[in-house]
Symmetry: D3
Subunit: 243 residues, 6 copies
């Protein structure tokens, strides 16, 4: 059973991770999942938000946005509308939670990392590409800070790896890493965030048409875990390259 773009149901789209895409950011990656391209930067600064001051612990937060013409028809800019939409809020919060899951805040010290994930081109799976790319930008920013001694030696702030992928049931078939056309047609759509050891950080499944049964959920989770393992490999290879 072949998919729109010729993949098998359990196959990821081609993944590329270009590190060092920004000369300013402490960590930066241009990630692509097929035609989906997200520019992720990690900005690290000394200090933490007020509510965390004096705790000795750092903070990691994320902001996601789409360029107005990253989609097939142009969308309004949220800055022009004067407010951020619910979807943007939801995804920014998801990215932040996902990355915080692999951080030891004590080891980070009172430093803040902001992860900016800007979608340059969208073709499904932008939030999962954002999480996967943001991890690599975050790793580079932490290495940078360790080199600059902004983060103290000794304890490693990054205590795991994290990646994310979408899965869904399309035409009755569970599929991995949906492109836009598949996403639109999916009866059930799930985003799964896993650590490198195969455990879950986030599981968000939504019945778009029909409610889904427990065995369908299980099939999707199996696909997601194997997809994240593939992304974990891509992340490791990217980080192994010389910056």
């Amino acid at each position: 059973m072949s998919r729109i773009d010729g993949r098998t149901p359990d196959q990821l789209r081609p993944v590329t991770l270009e590190r060092g895409w920004s000369k300013h950011a402490e960590g930066s990656v241009l990630i692509s999942f097929g035609d989906t391209k997200v520019f992720c930067t990690a900005s690290i600064t000394e200090g933490v938000p007020r509510w965390r001051k004096g705790s000795g612990e750092g903070w990691v937060t994320a902001e996601y946005a789409m360029l107005p013409r990253s989609t097939n028809t142009r969308g309004d800019r949220e800055s022009v509308r004067g407010k951020i939409g619910g979807r943007t809020h939801e995804i920014s919060r998801l990215i932040g939670r996902s990355l915080r899951a692999v951080i030891d805040f004590k080891a980070l010290g009172e430093n803040t990392v902001v992860l900016d994930c800007d979608v340059l081109q969208a073709d499904g799976g932008t939030r999962t590409a954002a999480i996967t790319g943001a991890y690599v930008a975050l790793a580079d920013a932490i290495t940078w800070a360790q080199t600059k001694k902004t983060i103290k030696a000794g304890r490693q702030p990054l205590i795991g790896t994290v990646s994310a992928v979408s899965v869904g049931i399309v035409g009755g078939v569970p599929m991995l890493d949906l492109c836009y056309e598949e996403d639109v047609r999916a009866e059930t759509d799930m985003n799964v965030v896993c650590t490198g050891d195969g455990r879950f950080v986030e599981v968000q499944g939504t019945a778009e048409a029909e409610p889904f049964a427990r065995d369908e959920l299980n099939a999707l989770l199996d696909l997601a875990v194997s997809g994240c393992a593939g992304l974990d490999t891509a992340q490791r290879e990217a980080l192994a390259r010389t910056l």
Copy 2:
């Protein structure tokens, strides 16, 4: 192993559903899950949003909010701050999707139902109480509209039942329907929305501390399915009472 409030791990808090709490709304319910109280109204009006006009299909949407002193310390009003926060957006969207899952939009005709879920008192599980209560308010509003002939006879717009419950791992133990104190201490927190036949509409699990393993996820899903079955019974009983 006893919980803060003496429940067993697989036990719901006392659930009450008072229908007809508003003299104005077409459907209204004051629902409580223990000390969590949410006032749900369903407002039905003729017509649909512009993008749906002429489709012959209706629409269902939801808005969730917390009164400023529904919580232990007073929160700012979102109207005063001039913008809606990410959490509010996220929950409003979740409620809307959950209720749309049991609606036949063709049978609803070009009518719109707005579900307002205002938290009067919060003690954990406000979004799941909101979904569970909104279902009953929606059912009453649809009955009202059928009586008034705003909705045509023949096809039933409500094609299933839906309820929601939170589950989580607290101190290593999977537990059903977390109160606020449990929620704060949970390592993993999940909100599950089920239809009356035990299938899933939404599954949203988040690792608050440690990533969670597949068997933990399974234990939580088992609890949630049984909890929703209990809520389904409470909904049916409430709807069976004379309004």
Copy 3:
């Protein structure tokens, strides 16, 4: 001459005051004037706004809002519109001024009380019910703070009682405590806030149709003073009950 709901022109609607309606707030009341129901909470916190710091004086402020379906047809949420309307601003300010009139700020010390008045169901007179209920919530919050020693013993911060009622000329007849239908038809509409000793804190009269003459104004003031006396009794009885 009988009114829509059978009352005489100088008769209040049934008034109920349920104290302790919130487990979180320091003072809370669900007040009803007939079908008008307002949930009033008083939140007391240490500290005052910046402009009052170091003065040794406290502060009392109020926020009024209507739930979207508290009215016959659903209104937009002000949080969703991103701004507070003029009417809401006006009423919030009125409630704050009215309650400040019976406070000794020195005796309150550098503490702030926020009075939240959320209309659950509207049938005319929501602002006057809010003031009348907020007084009782405020009294309970101050007692709470005195018990907790947040407010020093000695001087009593509450130096009087305050209640409010609407009056109007409907079909040429001056009437007390207008319900919504009467309010809509009123030629002149007035809201009067009195202290327990029959003096005025606020008098706000508006000609809705015809300008009104001095003797009409006098007749309305007479009605209002007697109405407030009745509300004062209801407040005293409510506060005399064990919480």
Copy 4:
């Protein structure tokens, strides 16, 4: 008993009304009450707001604002803060209601008049000066529209005259037309809007310090009625001059 500026308690400040102060507006007046200067324009356009279309009736609305340095210390611009404050809302609504009280909307036809009242210099009584000036600008705009035949001949849309003045109890003495220094020291402050025949359009009294008694209220109303009679004369004289 002499006042700060040498007036007797029942004396108005010098009132000037310069008509035709704008070359663009259909009606315009620069009004001064002593050092308080308000620039009032009346803009008349064909058509009415959506909710009034097809009614055959017109509409009159008002917007009040203060220039940032109209006061002793500079205030922020509401445009810069991105929202309108409660006081501005309240006063704009008061001006609109006051002027609508003397309009026959049928005779106005489906035309809209916007009254802009911008305070150039503030020294107490800006809202009452605004109402008094706006009346003259409105009268000129209606005359203009009658000349241009935008308003049909026959019935006169202006069915009365309206003016406003502040009164208050300062140091125990009821006084007319308070300047800023008096206003700050007033125990009770009242704004009264009267028609030319001495009836009331709005009465808004506020206890700033002590609640006020019925006889104090009566004394203030007496002063206000006589003050408005003086303003009525000033308006008539201004309108009698050739534009």
Copy 5:
């Protein structure tokens, strides 16, 4: 070749500068360029914005706005719309930069001057009138502060004079100080800000219809320099008068 209002192409409109127009502001001017009238106030306060604290240097900033009926058809208030438009932003920034060009911030000390330029009536050239008037208000505010010893004696904070004028090509003819009708018809429109010694602070030329050639640009600059010399004289004469 005569212009709409009979001027020669190189002639300014009548310029008036009335100082001391506000009793509150430290400096204030009502400036007119023909029918364009701008009310400029300079408010000086101790202290500087946070980013400049401790620098020993002052700050000068400006805010420009148009009254809603300063134009031929009424415009919406930016405060009501809840945001400032691009044109307003642009002009406010231009005025601020222009006046900062003649300030020695060290000599000003840690004081801030806010220049408010509110257009009471518009007939072309409002931004250039604003700059020209703001200079005089600024000069008066600095003199005031020197008298009050808020600014230390010794060094003069005002190190030059500045004025501005519009020029444009209308019907092929380069013209000075365009009124609204000319501005609308101009093929090229330029605003030029000059110091009293004939050098440039800002040059902003825009092709409204056809791109313009170098010799046209030169002709416009010649006109602007001579226009600013005339304005410089008017400013000096105004400042020479007793306040």
Copy 6:
């Protein structure tokens, strides 16, 4: 006299123009001026804004924005702050005007082109790179529309070419195409927009430190004209390549 990056004063930075960078937009270019990278998309849709309907003429508008970490230190997102800053407004308007200068709106027909210019990396000259890149994206979008017959054959909507460059006086030396470090140190800073035939569309010069003299202005204009000629060549070469 050599510059920071080794260029001569009259030398542009390396310019690259990558067309077709987006699979969705009708025209798209990634332009770089040295380390400044701007992603420009042209989105063409049928229809025009309301105020232009029925005119038979099209419209071209632009929106400029910087990614939060396009700069050396991260800036807040304007969408998060809820309003667009003055600088963003100013530049968006400049880009729009510049591109409209080379459009025949009749030939465009009732179609709208939105030019989005998002700065991915900033190193001075972002607005001039945006204009230069937007021209190429616009040209491609128009060709696309001609192929799709959305724009009628016959008349060419693009009636000229346009590019832009910054110039400035740095350390007393007039220089072309300033990088960020030069820009910060510039005494005078000018942005010039030229058509391919060497005429001016916009000239915006600002004295950052000292006012500038006429001969300095002339030297800067000479540099800008020659710089734009170089950019014009780069644009032609880019458009000559097969997409």
